[in-house]
Symmetry: C2
Subunit: 233 residues, 2 copies
């Protein structure tokens, strides 16, 4: 009972606590951290994912997070693990192996695009994470069922996952250029105009085929690339 020297503020806080004594502040868990972090990335992009901002969204300080997550890097790993868990891998169907492969990669792509810039973390954590290994396993099953030899299959999967990450990183940067205007170009017509502006003497092919260089509606280019990879197997 040595708290006889409590300040006025503490006293007021104690009185205020009388109102809601039962609804104890919900404890911080890894799940709550991950959920909050994902919401933050979804609305403000990966660059805004900060220990401080996650903590603030949880109504606490940054130090509180380190009891549940070793690192910012560890948090990133958790995020891409969660995203990977959202990808469902079908049971291999020998006749449709190409379509199945593209479909799984497309799921991953959509997950990454939903949380802009998070693929940067995926590039860092690729091989270590258990949840991404589940996807690798699934893709391997699909390719093996399609009659592809193990080694080319493994290498093609690696290339495809790398491509998915790079594709989504680039797509996110194009849409979310930090501050709407600042030397970064977003508009596609603008890019086309700049390509046409190049000196024909030094960039003959680029100028001539400028329209093809940045063409492709939706994810046409994405699927084109994957088909390219698969057709070579």
């Amino acid at each position: 009972m040595k708290r006889k020297s409590s300040s006025r503020e503490e006293w007021a806080a104690q009185i205020a606590a009388l109102d809601a004594p039962v609804v104890r502040k919900e404890p911080i868990t890894v799940d709550r951290i991950v959920t909050t972090a994902l919401a933050l990335v979804e609305t403000e992009g990966f660059a805004a994912l900060t220990m401080r901002r996650v903590a603030a969204a949880l109504g606490t300080g940054p130090a509180s997070l380190y009891a549940h997550v070793r690192n910012k890097a560890a948090l990133d790993d958790l995020l891409i693990g969660t995203l990977s868990r959202n990808v469902s891998v079908p049971t291999p169907h020998a006749a449709r192996w190409r379509a199945q492969f593209v479909e799984v990669c497309g799921q991953l792509r959509d997950q990454f695009l939903r949380y802009p810039g998070i693929a940067q973390a995926a590039l860092a954590a690729a091989p270590a994470n258990l949840d991404t290994l589940r996807i690798t396993e699934g893709l391997l099953g699909i390719l093996l069922a399609g009659g592809v030899a193990p080694k080319p299959a493994a290498w093609a999967i690696d290339a495809a996952l790398l491509y998915v990450s790079a594709y989504t990183v680039e797509a996110s940067l194009r849409r979310h250029p930090d501050r709407a205007e600042d030397s970064r170009v977003v508009d596609r017509d603008e890019i086309l105009a700049r390509l046409r502006m190049l000196p024909v003497s030094r960039f003959p092919h680029t100028v001539e085929h400028a329209d093809k260089l940045n063409s492709g509606e939706g994810h046409e280019r994405f699927e084109f690339t994957l088909q390219l990879l698969l057709n070579g197997l």
Copy 2:
């Protein structure tokens, strides 16, 4: 002459300046900044590339750099521009277009690998930079000479450059894991051991072909992927 209140330190500095009055401090230029930055990245990795550290290496403070470089992002762009300028694109030879394509991509890969982690900047600045456009132009010439249609050529180039960046980013992170030991695995045998440790029930294919998953000496996988892309054209 209102400097009569100079402190003792200033006085000492003035005396010291008598020794070398002619060798005026070399002015800061964009070239010196780029050279210093590249040396820094080469020895300590892209994560160590800091305005402050570049400035310190030049014997000044960070504010001095902003007279020559708008941003850290602008500096990054300059760096990958310089690296791109080191890549020499051959004049297209119709019969050897595949080899030429792979060779150019290999040059770019080696540039990126020499400066660990710098490919992260390449992923961000890809389409805007003039020097990388020179490479795109060269690759386009090679593919067109090989008889590839413009649109597939353009898309394949995009995919290949994306893959080069992703490949080098991942390779750099594997070699340079921030702090030698900290949940990140470097050793290849270690990765293999961990893959074999997986439960066979859930990861049958991964366990069975673990040795193929991370096989490939040198840049075998790199060239395999590029060949895959090219064979589909």
